[in-house]
Amino acid sequence: MVIIGGGWAGCSASITAKKAGADVYLYEKTDMLLGLGNVGGIMRNNGRFTASEELIELGAGDLINICDESSLHKNINFSGHQHANLYNVNIIEPKVRRYLEEIGVNINLIKRAVDVEVKDRKIKGIHFSDGSYMEADVFIETTGSTGPMGNCLRYGNGCCMCILRCPAFGPRISISYRAGIADLQGEREDDVYGAFSGSCELSRESLSDEIIQELNKTGVYTAPLPEEYVNLDKLKTKVCQQYALKEYAENLILLDTGHIKLMTTYFPLDKLRKIPGFENARYIDPYAGGKGNSIRYLSVAPTGNDLRVKGLKNLFCAGEKAGLFVGHTEAICTGALAGHNAVRYYLGIKPLILPRTLAIGDIIAYANDRMKIKQGRRSRYTFAGSNYFERMKELNLYTIDKEIIRDRINKVSLKDVFNQKII
């Protein structure tokens, strides 16, 4: 099995595929795994707690556990979000990489997939930019939907030198598009394609002692914005609708994830430095976070609820590739399902479609339904907030009671389903 894209979704798919018994080859264009996960860090907030526990019960809690163990702050609250864990972005990637190596996943870094060979609606193999070619029985694409540079330029503020490092490692390619399946795009509120990544990172030492102390202690810092800087319209442009609340436009909200996460798409540096405590502020990610951020959601593949790409027989996808999902937890959950179903496909077994009585099953089905209508393409789907978290509450899917979640999984006989070796 070949998995293209070593972000959270690809790593998660590697794990469940490996557990199911496949020979897994993971390909990543940069020199590190986790992609945007290297500048993320927010876990278990709001409905993500539920999803994390469901995933643990389903037998694929490996990455959730690593994130929990790597947390700088646990069970904290910040505007609109409860019981969040913040993992340390500085230590997370090596931990995940070593875990994957331990369980026997073949990791191939600095390998950029550029094209495919297709026959009879099946992908035969993948061409890489270095001239090599790899064949496999089944493929999973978890290349995300961020950038690359040409897209950030046309639909955003240009390349802002984010963690994906296209100028160094080359742009991501949509494998499903190369295989002849048209990509779908998400839209911003004002009917423009794509959305800005929702946060950036500042260097810890560049902030004032007072801010650093507060962040060390509580994990959160809120700085009210001078009136002239308040821009409510900017909220509409971002990917992360769960952080598009009024508080985020009226204040600068910082979270301690190892670096200091600034919960806004971008903020001009000269303006930022006029705010008390931020006089010496400096961006770590994107490097040009004063100018803009990466553009996402321009290459979603049409998938079924089993996460198989429509139009091809042996390509599955997960993470942002599979829908307008936001977040690490969403990527890990969809990745786990895709990895497992890819092996089921190889064996000729019916794929697993998670029931809608599970938050994970419901979000996948719901996002798929909504993708078909224009209004739905302007929303994002995350357990952590916005429309979908409201829905979770309405349907009584949201809970932090582990007993209830355990029952939920047992009721549909899916306990440890991702832990079973099926080959």
Binding site: D115, H127, M149, R154, G170, P171, I173
Partner: protein, 321 residues
């Protein structure tokens, strides 16, 4: 697995983006080919679309022409050699394998621009050496030049397979040339020698007096074999025997000859790593005029003045009429 990677020789250089970008015909960039989204299969290290936008949605300036002094001329039967003074910046850009310039007699108009490979370049004394076979009106016009020449450059797409050549280190190369094709092979021999490669040269000097070139080859410690390669539309038996003798122990075979010879040899060495010279007719050298266009099945048109392709794709499914 057969897969045709394509490359544009000018991508990322000071001539990129070229005028093809302004008309939505960029060879590499999907955004500059009228597509809505970035599909950058052929990333060359620079975002060409970005360069285009940052340049005010305009292409960069193309090559310039320079009036250059002829320092020396050696005339032989059917061929002549020129040593020409060039601006220092131009000399520095002609040091690459596959470099060439367009030259013409200043008394004739620009349709007389003739693409000629660089035989040798000296960046300290700022001159280039060229070897020109007398064939028809353009080359004879150049021969008539007395003091000065118009030189337009630099151009770099004189050889297909440049990546393979530049990355060959401490291996074995077999270079086959016919007639004037020996000229562009000289910078190739220099580069391969610098990279520690062992070289065998098989050359058919035809009816040209290439003694001047042969004297330059003596500077490199290579094995030279001179014989008749081609006769009556086919490779000679003598040559085929020698080719078979040496091809097994070779890591790269380069052919610097007419297309028919390149094609015949490629049939015999299909499993070998193979590069060749670019024989396309050229006029502007920058992708606009279409003189270099070659047509392929599937309505594909390739501009050979800019496109770097693997030689094996040069003749495959090519339309001749």
């Amino acid at each position: 697995m057969d897969y045709e990677y394509i490359d544009c020789i000018d991508a990322g250089t000071r001539f990129c983006p070229c005028s093809l970008a302004e008309t939505g015909e960029c060879i590499l960039c999907s955004c500059l080919r009228g597509e809505k989204f970035c599909d950058c299969i052929n990333w060359k290290g620079v975002c060409i679309y970005g360069e285009f936008i940052n340049n005010g949605q305009k292409s960069k300036n193309g090559r310039e022409s320079y009036k250059c002094l002829i320092e020396n001329k050696i005339s032989r039967e059917n061929v002549f050699y020129l040593k020409v003074s060039v601006p220092h910046s131009l000399a520095g850009e002609l040091t690459y394998v596959g470099s060439f310039v367009f030259i013409r007699n200043e008394k004739f108009d620009n349709y007389y621009d003739t693409p000629i490979s660089i035989l040798e370049v000296n960046t300290e004394e700022d001159y280039i050496e060229l070897g020109i076979e007398l064939r028809g009106t353009k080359t004879k016009a150049i021969d008539l030049s007395e003091k000065e020449l118009i030189i337009r450059g630099p151009y770099w797409n004189g050889i297909f397979g440049i990546k393979k050549i530049n990355s060959l280190k401490e291996k074995r190369a077999l270079i086959i040339t016919n007639g004037i094709g020996i000229i562009p092979a000289i910078p190739l021999i220099k580069k391969l020698t610098e990279n520690g490669n062992h070289i065998i040269l098989i050359s058919d000097t035809s009816n040209l007096d290439l003694s001047y070139v042969k004297s330059k080859i003596k500077n490199y410690n290579i094995k030279e074999i001179y014989l008749n390669i081609f006769s009556n539309g086919n490779l000679t038996e003598e040559f085929v025997n020698i080719l078979n003798k040496y091809k097994e122990d070779t890591d790269l075979i380069h052919v610097s000859a007419q297309d028919i010879i390149i094609l015949r040899i490629s049939d015999l060495i299909s499993d070998k790593s193979f590069t060749c010279c670019n024989n396309a007719k050229m006029c502007c050298g920058e992708g606009g005029c279409g003189a270099c266009s070659a047509r392929f099945s599937g309505h594909k048109v390739k501009k050979l003045c800019k496109l770097q392709i693997e030689p094996k794709y040069l003749f495959r499914e090519r339309r001749l009429i």
